[in-house]
Symmetry: C2
Subunit: 393 residues, 2 copies
């Protein structure tokens, strides 16, 4: 067991109709001019945006808006938000959407809070943030956990680099989570979200050591819940209870809770997927599903006790004759689960076919982004990353 810090200060307001509280909440947190940030047309078409604006109006809180955030959100949109926020004297930022919108809002907040510095420097690891404007979200997609996490992932659309910057300074003030708002999400996006949610906890679970028993118990309970309700949603997308279980799991999976006491986790699957996302613009969660089985088969012998525990406690498989067999059964059970919810288990099923040259470029970029190596279950170097991409073809 390792020493750890746990810090998740975001106030969660969860349940039906909670988005109506946005005016009062913005006021309570001292907002005088809010930048409302969102993605595509669904937030407009559903009338949610209008309701948010009306609630802010009713509370006497001024606002401006900026839509057009895309999945794997772009640095250009972040810069547009910073310019708009400066022009308009924004002092609070509200994301209405999923992880991409929240991450874009976080990046805009970094930029607005330190206007003399280039925000991309944070993502290139050249400096740390010193200030941050308060942000919050009305969540419409359960996936990224960005509504309570300290993470932010932005894609530089010019260079194809998808880079993360984590900082507790960016923890949102509050998160409004109404599961109903996620009901119209297409099944593929829903299941990609469930995959992402599970991965945030799996990446804290598959480590060389330190995990506490209570952390494992929480992680395993969370994972079993997502496995159950992802399948419910695959057949019954408007099931409120299932949407709620998944949405709350999404926050808990990535707010730090499921990693307490471990060695920091093994985020290799995410780092590998980020390269695919930067080069091919795939759906993040689907990219994770396409990479994970190959990652798992590549590393499981080096982290056997955890793979055995996962197989029995999460996937519920019967133990095999050897630990290796049990571990492999667990990986196969995960592949079956991915297939049952319509997720790919390799790059072909994901719909991409990187050439050997592209694989080398992906691995080279991943190694650069991770400072040369990444991983705890097994430390991966550039040649390992390339090998996993090849295995995933």
């Amino acid at each position: 067991m390792f020493n750890f810090n746990y810090y998740s200060p975001t106030k969660v307001i969860f349940g039906r109709g909670t988005e109506d509280q946005i005016g009062t909440l913005a006021q309570e947190y001292g907002a005088t001019k809010v930048l409302i940030h969102y993605g595509g047309g669904s937030v407009v078409r559903s009338g949610l945006l209008d309701r948010v604006k009306a609630a802010l109006d009713a509370a006497g809180v001024a606002h401006v808006e900026l839509g057009g955030v895309v999945p794997n959100p772009h640095l250009a949109k972040v810069r547009e938000g910073i310019a708009l926020g400066q022009r308009e004297g924004v002092d609070f930022l509200l994301a209405v959407g999923g992880g991409s919108v929240i991450d874009s809002v976080k990046a805009i907040s970094y930029g607005l809070a330190e206007p003399d510095k280039d925000v991309w420097e944070l993502f290139e690891g050249q400096r740390e943030a010193e200030r941050f404007l308060p942000i919050a979200s009305i969540l419409t997609i359960a996936a990224a956990g960005s509504e309570t996490s300290n993470s932010c992932v932005i894609t530089n659309e010019r260079t194809g680099e998808k880079r993360a910057y984590d900082d507790d300074i960016s923890r949102p003030k509050f998160a409004i989570m109404n599961p109903e708002l996620s009901m119209t999400l297409p099944d593929y996006q829903t299941q990609a979200g469930c995959t992402d949610i599970m991965m945030h906890t799996m990446e804290r679970y598959f480590t060389q050591g330190g995990n506490m028993e209570i952390t494992d118990a929480l992680a395993e309970g969370l994972l079993r819940t997502v496995i159950k309700y992802a399948q419910v949603l695959h057949h019954d997308p408007e099931n409120y209870e299932a949407r709620a279980e998944i949405m709350w799991a999404g926050s808990l999976a990535h707010n730090g809770l499921t990693g307490c006491g471990n060695d920091g986790g093994d985020f290799a699957s995410h780092m590998l997927e980020h390269e695919l996302g930067g080069m091919f613009d795939v759906t993040h969660g689907a990219g994770l599903a396409a990479v994970w089985p190959s990652w798992a088969r590549y590393v499981y012998r080096d982290c056997l006790p955890r793979f055995v525990r996962y197989a029995t406690n999460v996937m519920g498989v019967a133990p095999g004759a050897t630990d290796e067999e049990t571990a492999l059964r667990g990986i196969e059970a995960m592949e079956d689960f991915y297939h049952r919810i319509g997720m790919p288990i390799n790059l072909r099923e994901l719909g991409i076919q990187p050439t050997e040259e592209q694989i080398l470029a992906l691995a080279e970029s991943c190694a650069r982004a991770t400072g040369g190596s990444q991983g705890s279950a097994k430390v991966l170097y550039q040649e390992d990353m390339a090998a996993i991409f090849r295995l995933a073809l």
Copy 2:
């Protein structure tokens, strides 16, 4: 499933040697003069108090101290702390101890922040707090969960009333949790702490409805962990891993996490015990163990599905011929567990024998404190409270 808010902003700094960070942390949170509050001599004898003062000195943070907090902390000590804090211009309060010391610090903070009002009014339900001075703790006893909770329980030693006041305004800024600091705690206190920890989550578990599957999964995982490691500590009190599991469980059991989505919980066992604590000054956790089996036998038929689930998922008993039988087996398994860790399962074993007159007075006071009734598993009125006390004799 009910709508819920979840808010647990306290930063947790967990592990060996973390108390050395107190100077830096106090500085970071803007403290200029700290009131160090503590209980008996152990904090002094162990040298912890000296180390805390040295760390504050090294960080250039001034401090005054006030010891002598007793279990079931007294209003008189709170008033003494308020007077001292005003005289000394204290702007930050640090509890070094367990739940009693943290609750006493919370009450002092309420009093210092609104010096023109009587702090006991909060506990009598006459008003709500509007201000609060920042507080933090160095935890030495895993039990109350007060280090991250919004709860505060104070005893008016003149009237014998033990009363709670819950307010999110009182969530501590940070909690330093080094499991080593709890190693010298006598076994009876350790096990009373484990009982209290479990009860905070059990009281969120035994309700008429609303609980989410993920909340149940987290709650059951937490409870199984405490059951396991309480028994480890009974035989091996200096087991660091076990102390750590229990200490972290203590915070998670009462920060709100294990009640998300439920109907607010059923805190009848705590309310009944508070009366015993007020009249007989028993150890809080032991009082809970002495009351719970009688409460459970009194209410289980009205909340059968939850008692059946608890019996199988937490206590691991084999299902009986009927749900009633399964539920009773679960209650018996809890009694066996209490006995295995040296806890009482009735008032006789707790060492008190209230007369019928005292029972009527306890029930009358409990009904008054709860506004006439209390409970979700089964709503209890004054006569039910008296019946449970009688059953517990």
